[in-house]
């Protein structure tokens, strides 16, 4: 196989490279548009603040002359209006920066986190002033503006380079009366443009991250916010779960035990006078105990499944797979056990995913892959169903995402219409070596 491939001319690879180059070039052009837009907006901001300037300067120079006073009368309101226009435009810059961050992740493979301070809950009379204060005091605002200017000049050039090389190539190739060496050079330029485009896009992403990514305090503030949010959610979920368990016990097993006690008492009352009826009551009590046990079992399964406690997450998922009507291919490669809370979160996430698959996907087969690499427990669940799973629509996937977030875990979903659906979750954790048992 490989021999054959090396002997053949690698058309496929060249085609692939050219396709990537063209895509990169297109992205570059889009980035140039974004850069120019940013430049225009930042110039407008400068203009909005600077226009009232001459009036103020005239006032300063003119002392207390009437003309100078008139200048102030116009300049001060103009400054106020200018400030508001500028703050509005700063929000637009922020919007552009957000777009650039998202595109950097999608097109350049360099995801960039938002660096902003949380927006204050502002309403009432002073809301707009407070929003202005929040905007102006956030260093990220000014870094965004700096980026808009620098990106407009330098970044735009970087982004447009491949397109430029391609254009030069086409002109050189099709220009009349061009000498052959020039044409060859032109083709080389176009080819190098295509070749360099993907790398250049990645470089552009890194450049954007250096200017747009969170820094120092902002990063810490963000981390603190995330932790506070997920901690609150985790505690809420835990408290709700405990309430549910309490209610289930109260309405289920406890109620049955009370009924059983009463039945047994009734049997005791009549055992001498009517032994036949007493026997029937005793059987009734026995059946009630069986039902109570079944309810307790179901409850415990929902809290902490026995196989999970006995053998850990891989075997628990294997047991889960045996209990679903899906055809599941399980591959697991764990040399130890993750911490108990990770095991539990991962188990219930997979359980919910499998429930989703059997409910919605109409999948014939499902593959589950469990491994631990780079300090992450990674579990992939892939099915060959009809796809179209959308976390924004179903609450199930959102719920899993939220629960994993409490452990800094993430959930990635790829589910194009028509399938297949691939869900991957990652939870950072260490494995502990299996306990050596006495047997």
């Amino acid at each position: 196989m490989s021999d054959q491939r090396t002997r053949e001319f690698p058309w496929a690879r060249i085609g692939d490279q050219a396709r990537k180059g063209l895509v990169g070039t297109g992205h570059g052009i889009a980035f140039l548009g974004l850069a120019l837009l940013g430049l225009v907006v930042s110039l407008l901001i400068v203009a909005a603040v600077a226009l009232p300037g001459p009036g103020l300067v005239a006032y300063g120079l003119g002392g207390h002359h009437n003309a100078a006073g008139a200048a102030l009368v116009f300049a001060l309101p103009a400054l106020v209006v200018g400030l508001f226009v500028a703050s509005r435009l700063l929000l637009d810059v922020r919007g552009l920066a957000r777009l650039a961050r998202r595109l950097s992740g999608q097109w350049c493979g360099v995801p960039i986190a938002d660096p902003y301070l949380p927006q204050p809950a502002a309403h009432g009379k002073k809301a707009s002033w407070r929003r202005l204060g929040w905007l102006v005091t956030d260093p990220a605002t000014w870094r965004d503006l700096l980026w808009a200017v620098v990106n407009g000049c330098v970044g735009g050039l970087l982004a447009i380079l491949p397109a430029g090389l391609l254009v030069v190539g086409f002109i050189g190739l099709f220009a009349p009366y061009a000498p052959l060496p020039l044409r060859v050079l032109a083709v080389a330029a176009a080819a190098s443009g295509l070749w360099v485009a993907p790398q250049l896009m990645r470089g552009y992403g890194i450049f954007a991250r250096s200017m747009l990514g969170p820094r120092g305090n902002a990063e810490l503030a963000q981390r603190v916010r995330h932790l506070a949010e997920t901690r609150t959610e985790a505690l809420d979920t835990g408290a709700a779960e405990i309430r549910r368990i309490e209610r289930d016990l109260h309405d289920g097993a406890q109620a049955r035990l009370v009924a059983m006690g009463m039945t047994l008492d009734a049997a005791g009352q009549i055992i001498d006078t009517n032994p036949e009826a007493a026997r029937a009551l005793l059987w009734e009590a026995r059946d009630a105990s069986v039902k109570a046990l079944a309810e307790l079992r179901a409850l415990v399964r929902g809290i902490h499944p026995p196989v999970l406690a006995d053998r850990g997450v891989a075997d628990a998922i294997a047991a889960l797979a045996l209990d679903t009507p899906l055809r599941i291919h399980l591959a697991s490669d764990l040399y130890g056990r993750p911490p108990a809370w990770v095991e539990s979160a991962a188990y219930f996430a997979v359980s919910e995913l499998l429930a989703n698959v059997s409910k919605h996907a109409e999948a014939r087969e499902t593959w589950i892959d469990i491994r631990h690499t780079d300090g992450m427990l990674r579990i992939g669940v892939t099915d060959n169903g009809h796809g179209g799973a959308d976390p924004a629509r179903g609450t199930g996937l959102r719920g899993i995402e939220r629960r994993l977030a409490a452990f800094d875990g993430i959930l990635a979903i790829s589910s194009p219409p028509g399938g297949p659906t691939a869900v991957t979750m990652e939870i950072p954790c260490e494995l502990s070596l299996p306990k050596t048992s006495s047997s």
Binding site: V290, L293, R297, D323, P325, S437, S438
Partner: protein
């Protein structure tokens, strides 16, 4: 018939002992952990061992591992495993440990002592006793299976009882039909599932279980 019991909770160990004695079984030893079980099996050569899944020191699946170890030590030693939960994963491992002489029941089943002792005797005789819950879940898992779908409701009842390990006579008694009609049902079931018919009760059960586990 001589029995070895491994159960760590005193109340249950004592209760089991008394109940089995009341039904005329002899308790060779009643221990509270896996290591003692292996020693008792080697020493007393019982006809059947009854083992709780959770045993010290880890209180996880010690009992399953002890049961498998005992069957390795004494090949085809009949073992009946009791548990608060039944798990198909464990049922699978137990069934894979040899042909026949395996039971896996919920602890609740001891409430019906006659049925329970019947299961103990069946396992001791080299038969199978799978908990109805295991079978119900196996059948539920096979709902999409066309061959299972082709079974009539009555045949499905028969298949469930057969998979639990019951003989034709027991199935007939349970469903209040004649043994001959049970035989007719089983023949039809084997035809529909495309299984090799067998006169040997136990081999028949294992074939059905293997089919359901797919």
């Amino acid at each position: 018939m001589r029995v070895v019991i491994a159960e760590d909770l005193f109340l249950l160990r004592d209760g089991l002992t008394r109940m089995l004695q009341a039904h005329g079984l002899e308790i060779a030893a009643a221990v509270d952990n896996g290591a003692d079980l292996l020693a008792a099996v080697a020493r007393d050569q019982p006809d059947v061992a009854i083992v709780d899944v959770r045993l010290p020191p880890t209180f996880t699946d010690e009992g399953i591992r002890a049961a498998l170890a005992a069957r390795k030590q004494t090949p085809n030693l009949p073992v009946l495993v009791l548990s608060q939960y039944v798990e198909q994963l464990y049922a699978r491992e137990l069934l894979a440990s040899g042909s026949g002489g395996i039971g896996y029941l919920l602890k609740d089943r001891v409430f019906d002592s006659a049925q329970f002792v019947d299961a103990v005797r069946r396992v001791a005789a080299g038969g199978t006793a799978m908990d109805p819950e295991v079978i119900a879940r196996l059948l539920a898992r096979n709902t999409g299976n066309a061959s299972i779908g082709a079974l009539s409701p009555r045949e499905r009842e028969v298949v469930a009882l057969m998979a639990e390990g019951r003989s034709n006579a027991a199935i007939a008694q349970r469903l209040v039909i004649t043994e001959r009609s049970v035989a007719k049902h089983t023949a039809s079931i084997f035809l529909k599932l495309d299984l090799q018919p067998s006169d040997d009760d136990n081999r028949r059960v294992l074939a059905v279980l293997a089919y359901l586990e797919g």
